[in-house]
Symmetry: C2
Subunit: 149 residues, 2 copies
DNA sequence: CCTGAAACTCCGTGATT
DNA sequence: AATCACGGAGTTTCAGG
């Protein structure tokens, strides 16, 4: 997949604000709206673009605690069924299968530390196959961005 | 901040696709476009909405490796200058100040394992104040979503 | 908090270079 | 791969219930 400077400008505009009108990008870039439209269609077809999302600020909903939790599993644990159970825990917003000390690594979003404890104790620890876990609580998110284009 | 069922429908539509026309949401919900527009303005003012982003699929650009890296710092390390240096490393897409074993926890996006090694050895290890780090490489992202609304 | 209507802007496509 | 032109659609604002 090769993208040129104009594509980069389109992408950067839309990463910053996905609702930027095509025509306004066109004016910025200096070519017609139809041309931008064509390029965008091509980018979407190439699967470089994985959709457009409204971003929610979790703090406004009272979610103030981010934690990363590494799970240690029993040797006999069935991975797919653990993933399935984790999907049912709405506080789990990311889940990775990893190398290193852990087997599964998750990112959890909770209201506060007590809520985090509750989620870990009543929802994560209860999952069959999970032996123990290590928790890293984020006090402050300093960087949050996408792949550099 | 209190949001009702209609707000939730608007938010869910736009999380799924930030470019969904207001009028199409209006038809779904069964009220006028102007009403949806008004609610959206209010949600934006409330800071519940943190913008709209085009989502890039890193794999299409050759970025196939996600790693979480916990950094151990010298006691004398100056946090703000380390953050500043990390911002200059484009592969670092998230950075948290954490409790637990580490001081700083980052998420890194690289082309492959060799690239990850290069970034860690030549860009992270070189930062003054960073003593050592633990790396967890994601083999597979199973869940990736936003706070539940 | 909603509606309908008006004015404005944008989108998507087809024909053309 | 860009342009223009055009009809259909979406956005935004406002007066009014």
């Amino acid at each position: 997949m090769k993208i040129d400077g104009i594509d980069k400008k389109i992408i950067r505009s839309l990463i910053k604000d996905a609702r930027t009108p095509i025509l306004s990008i066109a004016r910025d870039v200096g070519i017609s709206g139809a041309a931008i439209h064509q390029r965008l269609r091509k980018l979407e077809k190439s699967e470089l673009i994985d959709g457009y999302q409204m971003m929610i600020n979790p703090k406004t909903l009272g979610y103030n605690t981010i934690a990363f939790v590494g799970l240690f599993l029993e040797n006999t644990a069935v991975l797919s069924s653990i993933i399935k159970r984790l999907k049912e825990v709405s506080e789990v917003v990311e889940c990775h299968y990893t190398t290193g000390n852990f087997t599964i690594f998750i990112k959890v979003l909770c209201k506060n530390n007590e809520d985090l404890m509750r989620v870990l104790e009543t929802k994560i620890k209860e999952i069959k196959g999970v032996v123990r876990f290590d928790t890293f609580t984020s006090l402050n998110k300093q960087i949050d961005r996408q792949v550099h284009v």
